[in-house]
């Protein structure tokens, strides 16, 4: 019983973390058809910025509770500075190219950003543990969980629901759906597609950076922390169906729960879980659970 509860809680916590980390990827793919490897870089950038900035401010005697805003702020800063630079300066000239080629371009950028991060922050780890312990904790059975986890769940829920709302309930959202459906026609109809791409990319980057920023307090920020997150979020969004928000959510929940089950019952298997699920889902549904149907060719 106790274990069942633990499995569920751990699963949910991990799922929400996965979702926050992956949602930006699926958003950018959904709109721009770019499988964005720099997603990992933004995750790392977010974490580094958050850790260093928050750390310094706290050292300067900032009110600890403000640190959450700082985390958010640093994520925004990263997105606002780096993302437009990348999209306007490079990617927009590449949209004509093949999906895979664009993916490789982002891979190249990822490599360079890896070293850039190293040049800026060095290789020593950064910590900003305060926000994690700040919010007290709750008990379930014999287990203690810091409330910070609830915050993470909240963030995941908000960013997910927020996006769904914007897409389906606002004018901008409908225009965006039009752009997704057919960029050319939308452009012909006077929609500023370029701006939509810029905003989407920046926002997707922001989501990645935010995931990094809010993960930072729970771990030590070290070089190459962005590498694993890439494949992980790829797996999640692919399971759910590339470009689908609810898909990403479902994918995250599936992976999260399966993982936590295996950890509690069969720790040995943890290593494969994600890829097994991914391969399994793809084998049954080649385009993922919530795949978007292809338009007729003739």
């Amino acid at each position: 019983m106790d274990q069942l509860v633990a499995i569920c809680i751990d699963g949910v916590i991990y799922s929400s973390w996965l979702f926050t980390s992956a949602i930006g990827l699926t958003l950018i793919y959904g709109v721009m058809k770019i499988l964005n490897i720099t997603h990992g870089s933004f995750y790392a950038l977010g974490a580094y910025t958050a850790a260093s900035v928050t750390g310094t401010l706290l050292a300067r005697g900032m009110e600890p509770l403000l640190s959450y805003l700082v985390l958010l702020g640093s994520a925004a800063a990263v997105a606002l500075i780096v993302a437009p630079f990348l999209e306007r300066g490079l990617l927009r000239f590449m949209y004509v190219k093949d999906e895979v080629v664009i993916m490789l371009i982002t891979y190249a950028c990822f490599l360079m950003l890896e070293d850039a991060i190293k040049l800026i922050w060095g290789v020593d780890p950064y910590f900003v543990a305060e926000p994690y312990g700040l919010l007290d904790s709750f008990e379930i059975g014999s287990l203690t969980y810091p409330n910070y986890n609830l915050l993470l769940i909240g963030i995941a829920a908000m960013s997910g629901l927020g996006l769904v709302y914007v897409l389906n309930r606002t004018r901008v959202g409908r225009l965006l759906l039009a752009v997704i459906h057919d960029p050319e026609i939308s452009r012909a109809m006077g929609v500023n597609v370029d701006r939509f791409y810029l905003v989407t990319f920046s926002f997707g980057a922001f989501l990645a950076a935010m995931a990094g920023a809010f993960t930072a307090p729970t771990l030590s920020v070290v070089p190459a922390m962005g590498v694993d997150i890439i494949v992980l979020s790829f797996a999640v969004v692919v399971i759910g169906g590339l470009g689908s928000l609810q898909g990403a959510a479902v994918g995250a929940v599936i992976v999260g729960l399966v993982r936590s089950v295996s950890i509690h019952l069969a720790p040995e298997l943890e290593l494969f879980v994600i890829y097994f699920v991914m391969a399994l889902v793809l084998a049954v549904r080649p385009r993922g659970l919530f795949s978007i149907a292809e338009a007729r060719k003739i």
Binding site: A129, T215, L219
Partner: protein, 425 residues
């Protein structure tokens, strides 16, 4: 691209020329230094080790080392370092090693943190007949599965860490009922756990295994694992986590009260104890993979090394740094012994090797004996202790030292078998 190729060829031909000047006594000795300069292992091991290599070479060249290392460089000849990043696949590393030896024409290679790389490099070093000294990598397999002429390891292998940890666990919790582990799911983590588990079965036969968590390397998120550990109700929790994973584990386990519930053993905890002084409570068992850092003896050599290192880099040297300097001093000892035997002339690699085999020398970490693997594998004493904050400053108390022969298998017996047979000599 073409120009780059040309540069390669050019650098090669240059190397050719430099080799001709080998004969000259005080020509610089080229030392290839291979450690992680990028990737997750750079911060905790790679870069401190590189720093140690640089400052050691510098001090030796300046002749600013205490006895018995007062002589300049190696036997009077200055040292010249060639750095290589250890990142990338073993294929890459083997390629780069060959480049070091045959293109950069180094006289000796000191390096390698990853056991995989050590295993891969050893036969190549034999093929190229190049003196190669591993300074950090842990796996006992190198000299237990193979036997090499040109390869040495001046740091003790990982078995010592697990056996030491188990011995200490027995000393502090002689009647533990349950012990668990959380180790990274790759060779280092798997070996560390199986050695620890094996030793515990010998030392505290009554104790049962609660759970053995094996998260993916660099997973970063250990919420579920920690729940499992908490639920297991273990008296002792063992982890060989290092670097980011170790720190993340501490950060996540602390608030959830794992350190209160169980006595946690961090076999590489020394690398994190200062950084996370605020998060590590008292009573956590930490090790330093040998008598390094906080466990280093209070002797001249240690004062010299740690003070110089700390002045230069503003952080005390961690065990990776100690091990790097230890390698340099080991080679220096062998080199100068050989040179003396060679009537003061620069010794041939073969002479250095025969001098190196089985010697013992002093390092900032204490006495090092090359007594395993036919005199190619070092053993040292090891030490474990418990964290204790003294006026907010992180220190260790209840330090226990275990002599080399109690924590290392005797020559010719594989670590695994040695543990299985109850540490019989």
């Amino acid at each position: 691209m073409k120009t780059k190729l040309l540069t390669l060829v050019a650098s090669f031909s240059l190397a050719l020329i430099t080799t001709t000047s080998q004969a000259d006594e005080n020509a610089p000795i080229k030392v290839g230094v291979v450690t992680f300069l990028s990737g997750p292992a750079a911060g905790p091991f790679g870069v401190p080790a590189r720093n140690a290599a640089e400052i050691t070479a510098e001090l030796l060249n300046a002749g600013k080392a205490p006895a018995p290392y007062a002589q300049k460089g190696f036997g009077g000849a200055p040292l010249q370092l060639v750095l290589v990043d250890e990142a990338g696949s073993t294929t890459t590393q083997v390629t780069e090693f060959r480049n070091l030896v045959q293109r950069a024409n180094v006289d000796v290679v000191i390096g390698y943190i990853s056991s995989g790389n050590c295993l891969a490099i050893a036969p190549v070093a034999e093929e190229l007949k190049k003196l190669t000294v591993f300074f950090d990598c842990g796996t006992p397999r190198i000299f237990e599965d193979g036997s090499y002429k040109y390869v040495f390891r001046t740091s003790p292998h990982a078995t010592m860490d697990s056996v030491g940890a188990a011995l200490y666990a027995k000393d502090v919790k002689p009647n533990a009922k349950k012990f668990s582990g959380i180790n990274q799911n790759y060779a280092w983590g798997q070996d560390s756990w199986s050695d620890f588990e094996g030793s515990m079965k010998q030392l505290i036969p009554a104790a049962q295994v609660g759970t053995s968590q094996m998260p993916k390397l660099f997973a970063g998120q250990y919420g579920a694992e920690i729940s499992a550990l908490l639920a297991s109700g273990s008296d002792i929790v063992h982890t060989s986590f290092w670097d980011g994973d170790l720190e993340a584990f501490i950060l996540q386990a602390g608030p959830r009260g794992l350190f209160k519930k169980s006595t946690v053993i961090l076999t590489t905890g020394e690398t994190a104890m200062y950084k996370l002084a605020a998060q590590i409570p008292d009573g956590v068992i930490i090790g330093a993979r040998g008598p390094f850092g906080v466990f280093a003896p209070n002797n001249e050599l240690n004062k010299w090394f740690s003070s110089n290192f700390t002045d230069r880099y503003n952080v005390p040297p961690n065990y990776a740094a100690y091990q790097m300097t230890q390698s340099f001093l080991g080679v220096k000892t062998a080199w100068e012994k050989a040179q003396a035997a060679n009537g003061g002339k620069r010794p041939t690699p073969e002479q250095v090797i025969s001098a190196f085999e089985g010697i013992s020398f002093e390092s900032p970490g204490g006495k090092v004996q090359m007594s395993l693997g036919k005199g190619h594998q070092a053993v040292m004493e090891t030490a474990y202790g418990m964290t204790k904050k003294v006026s907010g400053k992180m220190t260790v108390e209840k330090v226990k030292r275990y002599p080399a022969e109690t924590v290392n298998p005797p020559e010719g017996i594989k670590s695994a078998d040695w543990i299985k047979n109850g540490f019989k000599k």
